[in-house]
Amino acid sequence: MASSSKLFGVVALLALVFPGWALADDANARWLDVEFPHDSPVLPVSSNLGLTTARVRGMSMALDLHASLVLRNTGTKAISGLTLRVEAQDLTPSGKGSVTVPSLNVMPGEVFPVRIDMELLRPFTAGKTEGAIVQVSLDCALFNDLSYYGPDKLNSRRALTVYELEARRDRKYLAALLQSGRLAQLREELNFGLQDFTPQQLGLELLRDARTVPAREQPVSVGAVSFPSSPVQPMGGAARVSGNEVRAPQIEVKNTSQKTVRSIEMGWIVRDERGRDFVAGSVPAVLQLAPVQTGTMTESGTLRFSHPTGQPMMIGALLAFVNDVEFWDGKLWIPTRIDIDEATADPVLRRALATSPEQQRLADIYRRKGINGLAQELKKVN
């Protein structure tokens, strides 16, 4: 009995001391490294770990990293956007993160800030890291002429190019509204300057390699939302749905253009049991399609949807649309504003389809600075 008490005491003491010891060990390690190639057209001027803290959470250590970087365009071209890769040794190679800043328009020699707020939860049993716990590096920088620099390990070039094309489309559209004096329509496009207006949100979970036992899973047909000018048209598809989970969605597409397609990014819309539509996101896939050829896009893995409050969102239907198309020559197609207007009669869905990162940024400028601030911004960028 006495020996059991002693053993318990030793274990309790170790449990108290070990996290602190491990925390001190991690505190000695470097928390963040920022590494850019020497020939990079964008280089860090300074990096600052502001309110960065480390604390014990159960049998893990929680690192709160709030990094603020100041970068300079050291090249000769204006930078439209860039993506920074965020890697933690504890998750390598399975998991990583990134921070993308589109719609930058940073001229040569100018500096601009990038903030990275993250939390890393690592078990105390994790091995001691060599080097910094978190590494930040450049993945891709896109220039105004749509050329790029960077290893592009995360396929950032394609995403940055789509963002830039959407930004040009939306700036041109809003500038046209402004110049023609259609202010009421302009205000509507910019959410009337309301801060709390955001598209309907949803929570989601993407499970890779989940060995799931199907329970009352049922097949659901996938509807198509077509853009008139799209070079690739969705024909319809199917998925397996169980409650708030979607498995193996697939859709058949047809190349209706005269050019060979290299890759397609399909957008997915989830309709809940009350008939509300949510743009769940988009999935790019390499699918080579010759003119008039058809093909099937299949997504592996399991998607689980929930409301922002955490309640499961029962899936009533699935819709798919072509978000963008990359041709064999590297050129990209994105839907026009007319395409979006004609695709659906649902104003909420239309707004969700039309809300690009640039429109979100301009709406914020309109909210802060009014119509004059918006006009100056559009004039400066265009």
């Binding site: 399975s94 998991g95 993160g97 690592r122 890779r208 499961p312 029962m314 940024r361």
Partner: protein
């Protein structure tokens, strides 16, 4: 024999009373009878005893006939009484059963009412999806449905950010509540928001492979 000596030999009044009713033992009864044959006083006393007894018996009989006439036939009365007792016991049991069934019904009605109220409240206040989620959890609990086994990388949204969990560690890229979350690619989740400090649109992503 002198009166004093005769008085000494006279049996007592108790003996004479017992003799008159025939309740004396044999030897004492013979001795008393011998004395009575020679003593006119005691014989007179015996006569009085016997007369009184007859009178009392006659009077007792007269009263019994008027007061207890109904129970004169005891043999008939006994089954009647037993029958009445049986009826009373049966009636008591019936009343007891009626009381118990009433209490049971009242309790059932109360439980039913509470259950009805609970069901109505659940239907009107709890979203259908939560009911389904609870039912699925119960199915897993009782073993009708097997729990999901997650072995690979998990990407998920949290109230504070988007997270990737792999190899026991979790990386969460934080974002403000106004961020719009969506899936981005076959193995990525993204969040988009306008940074309040810089005014830049920022898109964060987590990847799982």
């Amino acid at each position: 024999m002198t009166p004093e000596s005769a008085k000494d030999l006279h049996p007592s009044l108790n003996i004479l009373a017992l003799y008159s009713s025939g309740d004396l033992p044999l030897m004492q009864r013979l001795r008393t009878r011998y004395h009575l044959g020679r003593c006119p006083d005691c014989e007179q006393q015996l006569f009085l005893f016997r007369s009184t007894k007859v009178e009392l018996k006659r009077e007792a009989n007269a009263q019994t006939l008027t007061g207890f006439e109904a129970i004169a036939d005891w043999g008939r009365l006994e089954p009647e009484m037993l029958g009445n007792i049986g009826v009373g016991v049966a009636a008591a049991r019936c009343i007891d059963k009626v009381g118990k069934s009433h209490a049971l019904l009242s309790r059932l009605a109360l439980v039913g009412g509470l259950m009805g109220l609970f069901v109505a409240g659940w239907v009107t206040h709890i979203p259908r999806e939560q009911t389904g989620h609870l039912a699925a959890s119960l199915r897993r609990l009782v073993g009708i449905e097997r729990p999901q086994v997650i072995t690979g990388t998990v990407l998920r949204t949290t109230p504070d950010g988007i997270a990737v969990r792999a190899q026991g560690a979790t990386l969460t890229i934080l974002h403000p509540p106004s961020a719009v979350v969506s899936m981005s690619g076959a193995s990525a989740v993204s969040a988009r928001y306008v940074d309040e400090e810089t005014g830049q649109v920022t898109i964060t992503k987590v990847y799982g492979q």
